[in-house]
C-alpha cells in the first residue's frame, strides 16, 4: 500500500473527509483505496474528475473489481453544470446530493460514496464562504444518509488559507500544514505516527472522533506485539476513547504483546486505574 494514501480505505459511510494532496500518486492512491472499499460495501461509487483527467480516471478506476457495487466516472463539466457558476446555490446542491443518495439506494446499492477533485471550485470562481457553506451542508447530508465523501484539494490549485479553512470544514482531514501526515484526523484530535508501532495523540478524543482513533489503533497493532501511545499532548479523552485503547491492549495481551502508554496527564492516569486497565497497559511518565 502506498504509505501516503494510508487511511483512505478506512473511510466509510458517515465520513466526510478532506485530503490535501501534494502529488498525483498520492491523489490516485487515495481515490483507488476509497473506491475499492466502497465497492466492497456494495455502494455506488461516483468519482468527479478534474477537467482533462477523465481518461486517466477511467483507465485506473474501471480496472477495479466492482464487487457488488458500481463505479461511475463523472466529468468535471458535470460538477460545473451542477455548480451553475455565479448562481451557485449551496441549498440547491444539498437537495441534489440527497436525491443522488436516494437514487443509489433505489437502484439497489447500499449507499453512495463520492470522491471528488475539488479543482472545479476554482474554475467555477467560487468564493471561500461559498465553499465552506457547501462543505458544511455536505457533512449534514452524509451524517443523515448512507453516504461518504472524500474531497481532494490539490495544493497546487488553492492558497494556504483556503486549504486550512476548507480542510477544517470537514469532520476528517489530512494533509501537510492542515494535519500531521500519516492519517486522517478530526478537527479536535490529531494522530501522528511516531515511529514503528508508535502513535502520538494530541487534542481531544470523544465519541465524535473515536472511530478514527479505533481504526488508527487497529492498523498500528496489526502484526505487532507492542504498541506505544504517547499521550503527553492529549488534553482530553473520554471513556469511549479509553475503551478503544482497552480493546487494543486486550488484543495485544491475548497474543502475548503489550500496550504502553507514555506520559498521560493525571486524570488519564486515574481513568486507567478507575477502569481497571492498570493490569493491562503499562504506564511510563517519560522515556
Amino acid at each position: 500500500m502506498d504509505r501516503a494514501s494510508e487511511g483512505a480505505g478506512g473511510l466509510g459511510q458517515g465520513d466526510h473527509a478532506c485530503l490535501v494532496c501534494e502529488t498525483e500518486a498520492e491523489r490516485w492512491g487515495a481515490v483507488e483505496e476509497f473506491a475499492r472499499a466502497g465497492l466492497e460495501r456494495g455502494e455506488r461509487l461516483l468519482y468527479v474528475a478534474r477537467a482533462g483527467d477523465e481518461g486517466e480516471a477511467e483507465r485506473r478506476l474501471l480496472a477495479l473489481d466492482s464487487a457488488g457495487g458500481e463505479l461511475i466516472v463523472a466529468p468535471a463539466a458535470l460538477a460545473m453544470a451542477y455548480a451553475g457558476g455565479a448562481r451557485f446555490d449551496p441549498a440547491e446542491r444539498d437537495a441534489a446530493w440527497r436525491e443522488q443518495v436516494r437514487a443509489a439506494v433505489g437502484d439497489g446499492f447500499t449507499g453512495l460514496s463520492v470522491a471528488a477533485d475539488m479543482a472545479w471550485f476554482n474554475e467555477a470562481g467560487l468564493e471561500l464562504g461559498q465553499i465552506l457553506d457547501y462543505e458544511h451542508r455536505c457533512t449534514g447530508v452524509i451524517e443523515e444518509m448512507p453516504a461518504a465523501a472524500l474531497c481532494l484539494y490539490d495544493r497546487n490549485c488553492f492558497d494556504d488559507r483556503t486549504l486550512a479553512r476548507a480542510g477544517h470544514a470537514h469532520p476528517l482531514c489530512r494533509g501537510r500544514g492542515i494535519a500531521p501526515s500519516g492519517m486522517f484526523v478530526s478537527r479536535t484530535m490529531q494522530i501522528a505516527a511516531a515511529g514503528p508501532g508508535a502513535l502520538r495523540l494530541s487534542g481531544e478524543v470523544d465519541i465524535s472522533n473515536v472511530p478514527s482513533l479505533s481504526s488508527a489503533l487497529r492498523s498500528t497493532a496489526l502484526g505487532r506485539a507492542a504498541v506505544l501511545l504517547d499521550l503527553a499532548a492529549l488534553e482530553f479523552i473520554d471513556v469511549a476513547g479509553m475503551r478503544a485503547i482497552q480493546r487494543t491492549a486486550q488484543g495485544l495481551a491475548a497474543g502475548g504483546g503489550e500496550l504502553m502508554v507514555l506520559s498521560p496527564r493525571p486524570l488519564v492516569a486515574r481513568m486507567i486505574t478507575m477502569m481497571g486497565m492498570d493490569g493491562l497497559v503499562r504506564t511510563e511518565q517519560s522515556i
Binding site: T188, D206, D238, V239, A240, M242, L267, M271, M274
Partner: protein
Amino acid sequence: MAAAKLAHQAFLYDGAEQFAEAMAPLVRAGTERGDKVLVAAKRASTEALREELGSDGATVELHDTLEWHPRPVHRLMAVQRTLAELPRDGRLLALGEPVWTGSAATRREWARYESTINVALADAPLRFICLYDRSELPESILDHGRGTHPEVVEGSVACPCATFESPAEFVRELDAGGGATPGRDHYDIPFSGDHHGFRGMLASLALECGMSADRAEELVLAANEVVTNSVLHGAPPIAARCWVADGDFVCEVSDGGPGVADPFAGWTLPAPGAPGGWGLAVARRICDALEVAGGGGSRVRLYAALRST
C-alpha cells in the same frame, strides 16, 4: 458452616465509649474465629475501641473514616478489594461509619451507598455493621440507617429491622426527592452535538464559580459522559443546567429520553468486556454524588464540592 452471605446491620450508638464497649466483644469473637476485621469510624471511636481491645486488637485494621476512602463509591470498592484478598473460606467483619459532615447531596450519596451494599455485596462472606452515632446525628439520617439495613444490632444480638426498604425502591425514592431545584441563579448550557464546545462552556462556568482547575477537569469528564449517554441512549433536546447549592457545584444533564433504568447505575464497575455502563461508573467515581433525578424525561445530576474537605 452456612453458605457465605451478607449480614448488613445498623448499630445506633451513643458516643465513643458506648461504641467501644458494645463492639469490643464482637471484634474479639471475630478475630478468635480467624475473621479479618476492618474498622473505619470516627477517630474518637477507633481510639476508644483500640484502648478497649488492648493487645487483642493487634490484627484489627483501624481507620479514621474521614481518611479511609472518604467517598461512598470508593469506600465500597475498598471493601470489595478487602473481600477479594480474603483467604479461601475467609470471612470479613467490617464496622463502617459513613461520613455525614458533607453537603446534603453527599449525605444522600452515603445513604444510597448504604442501600446499594445490600445488592452489590449480597453474596459476600461479610458481616457489615454500619455505625450511627445517635448523640450527634439528626433523626433524618437515623431514618436512612433504619431504611437501609435488614437488621439492627441491639446489645449482643441482631434483630430484624421492620423499617428496612427494598434497595431499588429506597434509592429511587431518594433520587426522586433529590435536592432543591434551582432558583433564579442557574446557567443553561445547550448541547447541539458539539462535545468540544460543551466541555469548554462547562469548564469556564465551573472555574467562574470558584472550582479548582483540576476539579473542573474531572467534572467536565463526568458531564461529558452523561451527555454521551444522552446522545447514544436518550433523545433530544439535550441540555445542562448548572447551579450552586450547599457548597456543591451542581450540573444536571437532561434529555427527552426515558432516563436511566438501573437505580444502582455506576456503583459497580462493568466486567472487562462489557459494552456499556462505563460512562456512569467513571462519572460516579469522579463526582461527590450522582443522582438520577425524577420527573419527566431523563435527568442526571452531578455534584462536585467547590471547596475540597
